[in-house]
Assembly symmetry: C2
Homo-oligomer: 420 residues x 2
């Protein structure tokens, strides 16, 4: 019954490739080169990715130290202390502690020899050159043991770790002034389309300002990649060809937007195939938005031909470029924040396509809800600015039900009981 | 029965203030000045916060345009088309479309006059200067209507929005070369302690490298604040006093670490109170870690005296400094990513204290689990590097149960079925 229509569709894409097959075909054809590493000051390392294991050259803490303000003691001197029968200990300033002796100690101070515990100031009372101890302490009580945080020779931070504030702090505590990180992958960005003008130029009738490069540039920056701007190319084979050559020469990944539909303007795939055959290895993906996305390999480097529609370009980046950038950085797994939410309304979908449904997640009475943002139009940027995450509708579902529990991948913060 | 012990505890903090009371007392005493704004290029705006509503000066899309590659038509010319009885339309290149006419159109092109819908290329067949249409389209089908994304005069982005890639894209699409953002709040950072040395200097016995300033500096950067480094001060009233003066003069917020316990070294609160009375308005908070945290106001500006223990300092920052920085930026609500997870083991807690339990969240078989990281030691940085989030144990709970569902506040990415 649908023979004719399918034939008609064939005029578009011979067949749509599933995302999973597209990814694996792509990865097999690519010759990804390991990025070089660079030594940078620890103070500049936030957000960078370690290129090697960071090994502790000394114990942390470097000595047994007090975790509180109080009195260093031999624990056994306090065993019989209680709130009814305080033990009296003799205050000393010696570097070596004897039985029934105590010495003032501050948080972070090394324990004097002979001491094995600290009584908190609050559980003591001073009486001239003596103190009363009102609570027993066990050995090691209130003591941070040498090497308890990190042991000399231990791997403190693994290779492939994106450095967060606490990692940078650990590097500092270990005395590491420098850290070896992966160089930022370079991602060249090219927009194509006769209708596009640069931001700052006033568009004439039938022209629009190019937003795609700036969006993708920001997405690269968020991941710790370095965007390279190739500008806008007209829908002209030679112009696009020259830009692609430039991009492949300079960058680790090349992203183009526009000119990928099987229409009158599928000039970008043609330009790619003119450079190397077969350049384009997948064209037409069973996803929505982003169906006209194409994947190509030139000189072993990945070239991702994204839709000219901003939202489709963002989703295409998410699905194909993001994992590659992370791979180049040496990061094994870095999903966006995810949460489970209850879908507020039924959503239709297309069997056989993976659909990326934009939703607004909000919290109400300690429960998370996901409200679908109007789906229409992969060109409608406000469907992204009104959303804060997306839900994946798998290929084998015709839609999602109202009240269904869904996993949301967050790309912006969660709102408080707000409505779309 | 605990009279004596409580008396002893009084020697520490007269009383512990709850976090909620501490916050509201603090906010009442502060005279937070609105930060100035600055106009910056849109291309530099990622992560900045809008200082005013961004109003669209034109419609987006600026004209009715095609959302697909295909043929512009009058919808009613196609109403009787079907896969069995295609309608034949005459191809034209005119700028005005008549009945039973069609004109080639690319994605993004403006609709010719008279056209109100687009038939996708896939549902047509060309026959010389005619096309066969195999499917009916309704008016507006495959058309992005003028102003459908954003209407002229609409608020496209609200004041107080942290700009993500899609916001920056929307600014570009609207032709905004510049955007007015809030100036970065300045946060002065001072570490205190005789035991501290700067990163890069070799610590002698009983010395440690200061990690706190670098950690807090990174936390500021993550929030879009500008850290100002005041260095390290010895536990000396005059030295600290001078640094605090410097910080208050330069910055919007001053954070100190160390020297806040009611011990021998509570020199920072003393220095603050020497400058203004009462400088310190809350000292001793019913939280763990971070109990010795103090809140002070100097010249109407917030001064937060954090613990010298790195983990306690981080949690103190999270609880008191983070909300202030967001408030200064004009952001109403920006929680960390949160998720619900199942606690893998029972955790004891202290009634009357709010406990910030570090956990490692991982996903196994589509379910999130939170595994508590060894709690001991607010000085143990690796309890943060091994964790990726924290769970709040409220004041009225003595602990959490194994298998209990908890909300995790994430400060790092989620791992895949990994164990602590």
């Amino acid at each position: 019954m649908f023979g004719e229509l399918n034939l008609a569709r064939l005029k578009g894409f011979e067949k749509l490739t599933s995302i999973d097959n597209a990814r694996s075909t792509f990865l097999k054809k690519l010759k990804l080169e390991k990025l070089q590493s660079v030594q940078i000051p620890t103070s500049m390392a936030l957000g960078r990715v370690t290129a090697e294991n960071v090994v502790a050259e000394n114990d942390l803490p470097p000595f047994d130290r007090s975790a509180v303000d109080g009195y260093a003691v031999k624990a056994k001197s306090t065993f019989e202390a209680s709130q009814f029968n305080p033990r009296t200990l003799k205050l000393t300033k010696n570097n070596k502690l004897g039985e029934n002796e105590a010495r003032e100690i501050w948080t972070g101070n090394p324990l004097p020899k002979g001491a094995d515990a600290v009584v908190m100031l609050e559980y003591t009372k001073t009486r001239q050159n003596k103190i009363e101890v009102w609570t027993p302490v066990t050995p090691s009580k209130n003591v941070s043991k040498k090497g308890e945080d990190v042991k000399k020779g231990d791997i403190a931070i693994r290779s492939g770790t994106r450095l967060k504030p606490h990692h940078v702090g650990l590097l500092a505590a270990l005395g590491k002034m420098h850290v070896r990180v992966v160089k930022k992958p370079k991602v060249a960005l090219l927009s194509t389309g006769n209708e596009l003008v640069e931001l700052g130029r006033k568009p004439e009738l039938s022209q629009v300002v190019d937003a795609n490069r700036l969006i993708l540039s920001c997405m690269c920056q968020e991941l710790g990649a370095e965007p390279l701007d190739l500008g806008i190319a007209k829908d002209n084979l030679n112009e696009i060809d020259a830009k692609i050559h430039e991009g492949i020469g300079k960058a680790d990944i090349l992203l183009t937007t526009g000119g990928t539909s099987i229409g009158y303007t599928d000039v970008v795939p043609a330009a790619v195939n003119q450079i190397e055959t077969p350049g384009v290895i997948v064209h037409g993906i069973a996803m929505r938005p982003g169906m006209p996305t194409a994947l190509a390999v030139l000189c072993g480097k990945p070239v991702i031909l994204l839709s000219g529609n901003p939202v489709a370009a963002m989703i295409g980046f998410e699905v194909f470029a993001r994992p590659l950038i992370l791979k180049l950085l040496g990061i094994k797994y870095e999903p966006r924040p995810m949460l489970e939410a209850e879908l507020t309304q039924k959503v239709p979908s297309a069997l056989g396509r993976r659909v990326f449904l934009r939703v607004q997640v909000f919290k109400r009475e300690d429960k998370f809800f996901a409200e679908p943002v109007r789906i229409k139009g992969a060109g409608i940027i406000s469907t992204m600015t009104k959303a804060n995450g997306y839900v994946i509708v798998p290929e084998d579902r015709e839609g999602l039900d109202e009240g269904e529990s869904v996993t949301v991948h967050l790309f912006d913060k969660i709102g408080e009981a707000q409505h779309v």
